[in-house]
């Protein structure tokens, strides 16, 4: 499917939220395609939950417009939006059984009894909870409660599902399990999903696109591999995956590349900064792009420093190198490059100029 043939499910036009002098979300514009899985990723206070709540109708925007399927939904009442919302702590009705919880949205839509029952049964089977239909939520484990919340959301086939850190309360193993479950349900129903998390790994695993947010505004929006490979801001570079950061001043630039002056030398890299005005920039090189040894030719840049520590993490060994200005960089030890240096040794590190990015 090409981008042009895809429908815009959801369009935000300068949507913002202020509480008095406090800005919860700067004016934000973005669009979500039909069937897309979009993740809002950022630390707490970055505005991602505010954005989600304005889409759901639980919070009224201060400015801007919200379009769904080409209709203006900015002030549409929450109960007439027909969106599915999965809450962080599930918000299961404690006085209703699992089946009653899942039936609730269908009753609100006045489905006939027979159809209602079959839909509830079918959905509960899909999340493997058919045996627990008559239990109360508090009699279930955390993972089971989470599945009830998912079933209650998917059962009425909403065209748009919003999830607010739905896996935040689960432990790591269960969380990974549920990530797969949500991906499966998303594919099966072909629903559009807007998903909020602060866990970058979760965002990378699940999303079609990630919207990185910080300080009440969008830092970068794009496919996971694009954000990882071509970060536009220092925040996006450091929030997703590990980055080695050398800060300095921009010396020169052209359309695609720039040269940065750092205490460890001048380096060239692809110039992906969003804000092209500032001279204070940073060179970003991912650890897997760095190798031990001096730069073999002009296509490479390099630094030297003291090996501070070796960290064994199972799959590989990480080398922590301290540069003369006490910037610390990290790289993986590649067994092919020869013997492991000892702690305290002076080592040379190099990377391909094409792998370096300059951001602001």
């Amino acid at each position: 499917m090409t981008a042009a043939s895809r429908q815009n499910k959801l369009v935000l036009e300068g949507l913002s939220k202020r509480y008095g002098a406090f800005t919860a979300l700067e004016p934000t514009s973005l669009s979500v395609d039909d069937g897309e899985f979009l993740t809002l990723l950022g630390p707490s206070g970055s505005g991602k939950t505010t954005l989600l709540q304005m889409i759901s109708g639980l919070t009224e925007p201060s400015e801007g417009k919200l379009w769904v399927d080409g209709e203006d939904w900015t002030f549409r009442p929450v109960n007439q939006r027909g969106m599915g919302l999965v809450f962080q702590h599930y918000a299961l009705f404690p006085h209703m059984t699992v089946a009653e919880n899942v039936a609730f949205p269908l009753q609100m839509r006045k489905l006939p009894q027979a159809e209602l029952r079959s839909r509830v049964d079918e959905t509960l089977k899909k999340v493997q909870l058919d045996a627990f239909a008559h239990r109360f939520p508090k009699e279930l484990s955390g993972g089971q409660q989470q599945r009830v919340a998912l079933a209650r959301c998917f059962v009425f086939r909403p065209r748009l599902i919003l999830m607010d850190e739905p896996l935040g309360a689960l432990d790591k193993a269960l969380r990974e399990n549920m990530q797969m479950e949500i991906r499966r349900l998303h594919k099966e129903y072909g629903t559009t999903v807007v998903y909020v998390t602060h866990d970058q790994e979760e965002a990378l695993v699940m999303s079609d696109r990630i919207c990185v947010m910080n300080h009440a505004k969008v830092e970068q929006l794009g496919a996971p591999h694009r954000i990882y490979a071509d970060p536009e801001t220092l925040f996006a570079a450091t929030f997703i995956g590990h980055s080695n950061v050398l800060t300095g001043k921009r010396l020169s630039m052209d359309d695609r590349t720039a040269v940065i002056r750092t205490p460890s030398g001048d380096f060239r890299g692809a110039y992906t900064a969003r804000d092209r005005g500032t001279e204070k920039v940073a060179l970003i090189v991912r650890p897997e792009q760095m190798r031990l040894g001096p730069p073999p030719d002009g296509e490479y840049d390099g630094v030297t420093g003291r090996l501070n520590d070796l960290v064994y993490v199972g799959a590989d060994t990480r080398l922590l190198v301290s540069l003369p200005d006490s910037t610390e960089i990290m790289l993986r030890h590649d067994p092919a490059t020869g013997a492991m240096p000892a702690i305290g040794d002076q080592v040379a590190v190099h990377w391909a100029k094409s792998a370096a990015r300059i951001v602001s």
Binding site: Q53, S56, G57, L58, T59, E60, F75, P77, V78, N79, Q80, R81, G82, M83, G84, L85, F87, H89, A91, F93, P94, H95, F104, P105, M108, R109, F136, K138, R152, F156
Partner: protein
């Protein structure tokens, strides 16, 4: 050589329930024992002591007692019903505020809750009387030609009782409503539920345990009421408690008083049993109600569900009056503010009348004067009663805080199977109608010579204050981090040092607040004082009670102002310390 004492010590250590022992002993001797004695009186022949049913048979002979029972139940049920229905929207409104604003506005409910029933009733007599404030205003405004009969009838009693009980209802419902997860109604909204569906299908069922607890407590308290019907009711509104007082004080018929008291306790126990059947008692003691109504049989559940769906349907036309978006289910503040005015304003009427220059309680006062305060200060009777009340209240505050606090500490640290029964025992004096406690205590104290002594009064008031201290200190202990004690222990502190340097400083606010609550409980207390204080040496409430029977005069208004100011000052202090 140190093995024997350390053995004793370690036993004390191993079971912290020992800390509850002093309170248990006091309650056993002056609460459980006299209640049991009272029950026996009802089934014994006063001369021979043989078991007999004759006292209960008297009930069947005189239809007047059936009528009194009927009236008592009718008034108690109506009071509970109105208190819950009128209090529910107010509690709901308060529960939706942020905690700072809520605790501020909840003061307007706490204040009437702690204000003495006598002052409240006195204020209503001024308002509702034939030539009272309301009738005067209505006639002058031309709304009515002749004064309405607002009191000495059932209307007067219900107004006074609902005013007295609504704060209790609101304060019982509020914690339950605070505990309801607000995201649940939001979630229901996103699933397509309208405003009325969100309320009736999700919020309301979760709040029912609180409303039912409020109904239960107001019903039980109303059963034992006598102040309001004595002053605001006519002869047709005589309630059970008044009859008990008559039987004891005028007819000295202990056996029959015991029968009536037993009936009252049985009625209270039955209503508690019913409540426990459906909701579980933990709701009352501040437990979470998140499980809502106990899973009951399928038919009941389905019926309830139908009823709620019907209510949602009935109220759906009103949906469009509220804001439709988001969590702004705040609703209008008009009703809650009116309800708060209903709770506060009647008590304020005593202020202008206390400063009147007239020699009667006419309204509006013709001029300003301090003569009634002078009268109060120069009256040896009033001043000695005030001093005595202060002394008794101080002693009560000390005893109840120590006993209730130790019991709360013991129960908080223990996981014994005795916790449940002990918990119930500590709260029992709050649930058993005061009139029953007072009569039982009077019988016992008359035998051991404690009537008309300060000791007797302090013991009686301590019984009543222990539940409040137990709850207040228990609440602070709930949030106390016991790992701090372990931390102090690893740093080398001994048990006493931990108590002195760690535990007490952290609990200080709660402990002082408990003491203040106990002080107010005693300072306002009338029921026990009527029986125990005796003779010329009365307490302030007892003196007010006697005066109100003789004649309403502006001195009473001046005394009411003094009581109101003292109680308000203490409450504000307690509220500040509790945080």
């Amino acid at each position: 050589m140190s093995s024997a004492p350390s053995l004793v010590l370690s036993r004390f250590r191993s079971n912290p329930l020992w800390l509850a022992l002093p309170a248990v002993l006091l309650l056993a001797a002056f609460f459980l024992f006299p209640m049991g004695r009272l029950f026996l009186l009802g089934v014994q022949d006063p001369q021979t002591g043989a078991l007999t049913a004759e006292h209960y048979l008297r009930l069947t002979e005189a239809p007047v007692y059936w009528r009194i029972l009927g009236i008592t139940f009718r008034i108690a049920i109506l009071t509970a019903l109105f208190s819950v229905i009128l209090g529910y929207p107010l509690a709901l409104w308060l529960s939706r505020m942020d905690s700072r604003k809520q605790s501020l506005l909840a003061l307007l409910v706490l204040l009437p809750f702690w204000t003495s029933y006598l002052v409240k009733t006195f204020a209503w007599m001024i308002l509702l009387g034939h030539r009272g404030v309301l009738n005067t205003l209505f006639v002058e405004a031309g709304l009515i030609e002749r004064p309405l009969g607002l009191m000495y009838n059932e209307l007067g009693v219900i107004i006074g009782m609902v005013h007295a009980m609504m704060p209790l209802a609101v304060l019982t419902m509020l914690p339950v409503m605070n505990g309801i997860d607000r995201r649940l109604t939001l979630a229901a909204g996103t699933m397509g539920a309208s405003r009325s569906q969100r309320f009736w299908l999700v919020y309301f069922p979760l709040s029912v345990p609180g409303a039912a607890a409020a109904g239960l407590l107001t019903f039980i308290t109303s059963l034992g009421f006598f102040i309001v019907p004595a002053f605001l009711g006519g002869s047709g509104q005589t309630m059970l408690a008044q009859t008990i007082i008559t039987q004891v004080q005028e007819l000295v018929n202990w056996s029959f008083a015991a029968v009536l008291a037993s009936l009252m306790v049985v009625a209270a126990l039955i209503s508690i049993w019913i409540y426990n059947r459906f909701f579980g008692l933990s709701t009352i003691s501040g437990g979470s109600s998140s499980d809502g109504v106990r899973a009951s049989s399928g038919i009941l559940r389905r019926l309830g569900r139908r009823f709620l769906e019907f209510m949602a349907w009935i109220s759906s036309p009103f949906d469009r009056f509220g804001s439709s978006i988001g969590n702004d289910d705040r609703g209008s503040a008009i009703y809650p503010v009116l309800a708060l005015i209903f709770l506060i304003a009647p008590m304020l009427v005593v202020f202008p009348l206390a400063f009147t220059s007239a020699s009667s309680l006419q309204f509006p006062p013709p001029g300003f004067s301090l003569r009634w305060f002078e009268q109060y200060v120069n009256s040896p009777v009033w001043i000695s009663a005030t001093i005595r009340s202060f002394g008794v209240a101080l002693a009560t505050a000390f005893c109840a805080t120590v006993l209730g606090g130790l019991a709360a500490l013991g129960l908080a640290r223990s996981r014994s199977r005795w916790n449940g029964p002990l918990f119930a025992l500590m709260l029992a004096p709050m649930v058993v109608p005061r009139i029953v406690i007072a009569v039982g205590l009077f019988y016992l104290m008359a035998q051991i010579g404690l009537v008309a002594t300060n000791t007797g009064l302090v013991i009686g008031h301590t019984l009543l204050a222990i539940p409040y201290c137990f709850i207040t200190i228990g609440a602070v202990l709930k949030s106390y981090d016991w790992r701090l004690n372990q931390a102090a222990e690893t740093l080398g502190a001994g048990r006493l040092t931990i108590l002195r340097r760690i535990t007490l400083p952290l609990l200080r606010g709660g402990v002082i607040a408990a003491g203040l609550f106990a002080f107010v409980t005693s300072f306002d207390e009338l029921t026990i004082a009527i029986f125990i204080s005796g003779g010329l040496r009365t307490t302030l409430p007892k003196q007010m009670w006697d005066d109100m029977f003789l004649q309403l005069n502006p001195t009473l208004a001046a005394v009411s102002v003094v009581v109101l100011v003292i109680v308000t000052a203490i409450l504000l202090a307690a509220q500040k310390l509790q945080k």
